[in-house]
Amino acid sequence: MLDKIKSISDSVKKIISEADGSGVLNDMRVKYLGKNGEITALLKNLKNCSPEEKPFIGKHINILREQVEKLLAEREKTLAEIELNKKIESEKIDVTLSLNYPKKGGLHPLTLARNELVDAFVGMGFEVKEGPEIELDFYNFQQLNIPKDHPSRDAQDTFYINDNILLRTQTSAVQARTMESEKPPIRIVCPGKVYRLDDDATHSPMFQQIEGLVVDKNINLCDLKGTLDEFARKFFGEDTKTRFRPSYFPFTEPSVELDVSCFMCHGKGCRLCKGTGWIEVLGAGVVNPVVLKNCGIDPEIYSGFAFGIGIERCAMLKYGIPDMRILFENDIRFLSQYK
């Protein structure tokens, strides 16, 4: 019996370690440990042994059985690993390959700029108002202290439908409409399309502006400066400096232009700011009392400020777009750069 045990013990290790599939391993299990298996047979034969030999041989048969079970389990695990590795290996893909899976589109850079500009003012408590693009001369000009034949009409060549109806040249027209229909306090921004007879690398016959208007008691130039400083820091960066330069608009008095420190060179002077260190971004001023009066607001009680920002200019500055016409070509290779 001991010889038999030894011979099984000697051969089983090799046989199991060479088993190359879970099927073979099952056969092994049957062969050794099954009802009619070799080790089971040994145990059955144990009764033929002498009582002195029995415990000793029995112990060896048990050791053999445990050995076989252990070998089977180990081999099983090894085979599973080999199997998994094979599967993994066979499933290798080229991870550098790009296939054409759906991608999100994008908002137009003008919308991105407009959203950012509007959000900056919404955060300061401004309401968003809109108005018609085909507008009455009355709202676009006359109510804003620009009577017919005012020389400043020359500066913004207007598309006319007829003598009284035109394509608005400035979102300021919404100012006049709002002041007519609402009582102070007023705090609005009006984004929208405006039109001027102009077409070159820095002018488009259609472009977008954001007009801002605040009317309340005791509003002055310092309020305007405070509001625009906040805006400039939010839109152009925390370290942005601002300066007011005197200017002229018929509907504000005093009128100013706002320059921001150049965000490319931080004021040292570069190509973007034409060496001045400053970039002109918007026009603003204290609402001309004549305009308040025209729109039915008592200038003795109320005052206000207004500003107008060109969205194209802001977008071009912020995204480094060199030619305004690119904005309106809508080439997907351009649009897909701004996701």
Binding site: K104, D199, C222, D229, P254, N330
Partner: protein, 792 residues
């Protein structure tokens, strides 16, 4: 406005550089567009002393000179014969640039090296009166004392610096050297010096030569005239010619130059008539007779309208008021007596006339900006003083002044605190008074109340806001203390938020937003195959468009979108998804009497190999679900869409747009070889009716039962119909249904199609039994029979 530095210095002492002055002007509201150095017109030309002159070995006409140019000796070959050893001449060295833009390089003449060129007076744009000898034929011989190597600009005095200053529309008075000088004086704290206005008069009296009859004070509030007898026509002195050149005006002769000089210096346009050609010795300011003709100084004949103002003699127009003089009474070399006009014309009138005649001049440009009452007399006196100073004629005594006695001088009385309440900081009363006085806005105080006298040339100052601007301009905007306004509830309206939401949704579908012009070509409607009576053809027309292709305000976005796809396709972008939300403009009637309705539309387009009708329709269905709008799709035709592949979109019974494949003919018109799927919807409807938060719906925790039905339906039976029948027959236990396959051909009888429907049944309060479901399926199949739909 071009401002030569030396001219400015005549009226105000300036002890800072042009760049520093530029900064100061910017700080008070005058943008510097450019700083022009006149010396940039002549580069690398120096004085050179000729050391030797030899004959060219190979030519009889050429001389070879050795020239000391300060930095060393150069050899120059010249064809000029007027040079000799010891002469000092202008030498254009290698790389030099001459006033006409010509570049000079080293080279060889007949095999002999020449390291530049000696210049004549003409080549340096000089005349005899600019520099003695400049008029002779040959090389300009300079003053022998000139140091070799000296920049020629120094030698000939071409060293002017010109500031190009932008003038805002409220400051017409600053379109003059004097006006700018007044601002410079205020900003630098110096005193303004007025130009010389003195002259000696002869025994003649102006009124003995000429009378003026002003028949239209509205268009010509003031007409002044003076007379100069025994005039001599000659070249103006160098200083006048240099200054005119520096501001971009070509010097002609003293009589013309003097008017341009005064226009630039004082800002008053002047005109000179030859007295002998003024019939009746009379000037009549009147409206032209309709069709009245005049040949202007540009040599063209103009036919005038009754609305246009003419300056006439006793018989005929002799000038188009403020725009251009006439040929007939113009001055010439036989002129003996000059009548000088110095008038104020209404700017609108000049503007209209100039536009209507398509005729512009320095004078009309100046009048259009507005002339004040102050300048007529000043301009006239200044012109006469120049005649007197240079001895160009004898000044007759007195002026004609045909005016309506008006002035725009005013006195403002206000509390100085009102100024500060506009500015927002406390500027001391004394400081305010000082700033205003520096600006020659003479101001006095009585307690807190200030009284400011506003002279004629400051018509822009009307009230305390204008005073506040003057104060803060000079006090400094940098002194403002930024203040934040109190908080207030702001934000976007629900409609505006839905606008953002819809855009973001489409971006999620891979679409790019476009922005296109609101004006389109009137050809658009034909290109979209619209019928003659299509209501969308009723479009607002721009009276002065950029061009015919941009002349009408769009009534549909589809045309613009197809143009965008055309551009992209032509540029090799073979597929893409786009959308745009923009206004369409729908007039109630034409011609426009009231503002048209402006409605926001959304257009969505997919094009390319992998796109299909159902992909785009699926997006619309998702929009419907997102905004809870219950879109229904009904087969309908749209002229520019494929008749078999177009559906109108309804919501609550209202038609809000359509979706379809672009008509093959339209696809051809726009030269796009790929199929295009297009939808255009009323976006305002979505924004107004859209629901943001839908009521909570409980969902069942019980098991669902799925059943598939393979149906045989008539080939034209619409999916919507089949699903409608199923839905009403199945009742509320049907949670979901979808058609997952439609098949025609093969095993399916002719005229029929196979439709596979997946149904999902579920109860809220229990589990469905098989028999319950079977009963319901029976009911569904029974109902479908009415539509000729049967189980396969």
């Amino acid at each position: 406005m071009k401002v030569p530095y030396s001219w400015l210095k005549e009226f105000v002492d300036i002890d800072i550089t042009p760049a520093e002055l530029g900064d100061k002007l910017v700080s008070v509201g005058f943008e510097i567009e450019e700083v022009i150095e006149m010396r940039d017109s002549i580069k690398n030309v120096v004085a050179g002393k000729i050391l030797s002159v030899e004959k060219h070995p190979d030519s009889d006409h050429l001389l070879v000179c050795s020239v000391d140019v300060g930095t060393g000796k150069v050899q120059i070959v010249t064809g000029a014969q007027n040079v000799k050893t010891g002469d000092v001449v202008p030498v254009a060295l290698d790389g030099a640039v001459l006033p006409d833009g010509k570049k000079i390089n080293s080279g060889a003449l007949r095999g002999v090296k020449s390291e530049g060129m000696m210049c004549s007076g003409g080549e340096l744009a000089l005349t005899e009166s600019d520099y003695p000898g400049a008029g002779v034929y040959g090389i300009l011989i300079l003053d022998a004392k000139t140091q070799p190597g000296t920049d020629i600009n120094e030698v000939i005095g071409n060293t002017e610096t010109v500031l190009d200053v932008a003038i805002t529309a409220n400051r017409p008075d600053c379109n003059s050297i004097l006006g700018i000088a007044r601002e410079v004086a205020a900003v630098t704290g110096k005193k303004l010096r007025m130009p010389n206005l003195s002259y000696t008069v002869s025994d003649y009296k102006t009124k003995d030569f000429i009378s003026v009859e002003n028949r239209n004070f509205e268009l010509c509030p003031r007409y002044m005239a003076g007379a100069v007898t025994e005039v001599t026509e000659c070249e103006s002195p160098k200083i006048i010619r240099d200054r005119l050149k520096a501001v971009g005006i070509r010097p002609i002769n003293n009589l013309v130059d003097v008017t341009n000089y005064v226009l630039t210096e004082i800002g008053q346009p002047m005109h000179a008539f030859d007295l002998k050609n003024l019939a009746g010795g009379k000037i009549v300011v009147r409206n032209a007779a309709e069709g009245e003709k005049i040949t202007a100084l540009d040599g063209k004949e103009y036919s005038l309208k009754v609305s246009q103002l003419a300056i006439c003699d006793a018989e005929k127009p002799v000038a188009i008021a403020g725009v251009m003089g006439g040929m007939y009474a113009s001055i010439g070399n036989d002129t003996e007596t000059v009548i000088l006009e110095s008038a104020r014309f209404a700017r609108d009138s000049i503007r209209h006339t100039s536009r209507e005649l398509n005729l512009r001049s320095d004078s009309s440009a100046r009048y259009e900006k507005g002339i004040d009452f102050y300048s007529q007399e000043l301009g006239l006196k200044r012109a006469l003083s120049l005649f007197s100073e240079y001895g160009w004629g004898k000044i007759a005594e007195g002026f004609i002044d045909a005016n309506m006695g008006c002035t725009s001088e005013k006195t403002l009385v206000y509390d100085y605190k009102a100024v500060n309440s506009i500015i927002g900081i406390d500027v001391e009363k004394e400081r305010i008074i000082r700033i205003l006085n520096n600006l020659e806005l003479s101001t006095t105080a009585e307690g807190d109340v200030l009284t400011t006298f506003v002279p004629d040339y400051r018509e822009d100052i009307e009230g305390v806001n204008d005073i506040a601007e003057e104060v803060v301009r000079f006090y400094g905007y940098d002194e403002l203390a930024p203040r934040l306004i109190s908080t207030k509830r702001g934000g976007k309206s629900p409609e505006q938020l839905r606008f953002d939401k819809l855009k973001n949704m489409l971006v999620g579908y891979g679409a790019y937003e476009t922005v296109s012009y609101s004006f389109i070509s009137p050809k658009a409607f034909d290109m979209l195959l619209m019928k003659e009576n299509d209501p969308l053809r009723k479009a607002v027309e721009i009276s002065n468009p950029l061009g015919a292709d941009f002349s009408i305000m769009r009534t549909t976005l589809s045309y613009s979108m197809l143009k965008i796809i055309n551009t992209n396709y032509k540029r090799g972008n073979k597929e893409g998804r786009f959308f745009e939300i923009a206004n369409v403009y729908l007039p109630e009637s034409l011609p426009l009497e009231k503002l048209p309705e402006e409605k926001q539309h959304i257009v969505i387009a997919f094009y390319g190999e992998n796109e299909g009708f159902y992909k785009l329709k699926g997006v619309l269905e998702d929009i419907s679900e997102t905004f809870a709008l219950n879109f229904e799709f009904k087969r309908e035709e749209i002229s520019y869409l494929h008749p078999g592949r177009t559906a109108s979109v309804y919501s609550d019974g209202k038609k809000i747009g359509y979706v379809g494949e672009v008509h093959p003919l339209v696809q051809d018109t726009f030269e796009i070889d790929k199929r295009i799927y297009l939808a255009e919807l009323d976006a305002d409807y979505i924004f107004e009716k859209g629901i943001d938060i839908k009521p909570y719906k409980a969902f069942s925790k019980y098991q669902a039962v799925e059943r598939d039905l393979a149906l045989l339906a008539p080939i034209d039976e619409e999916a919507a119909k089949i699903l409608g029948v199923i839905s009403s027959a199945a009742g509320n236990i049907l949670e979901k249904m979808e058609i997952f396959d439609v098949y025609v051909g093969g095993q399916v009888p002719k005229g029929k199609k196979s439709v596979a429907v997946k149904l999902l049944f579920r109860l809220h309060d229990g589990t469905l039994t098989d028999s319950e479901i079977n009963a319901r399926i029976e009911k569904i199949l029974e109902a479908l029979k009415s539509e000729n739909v049967f189980l396969r």
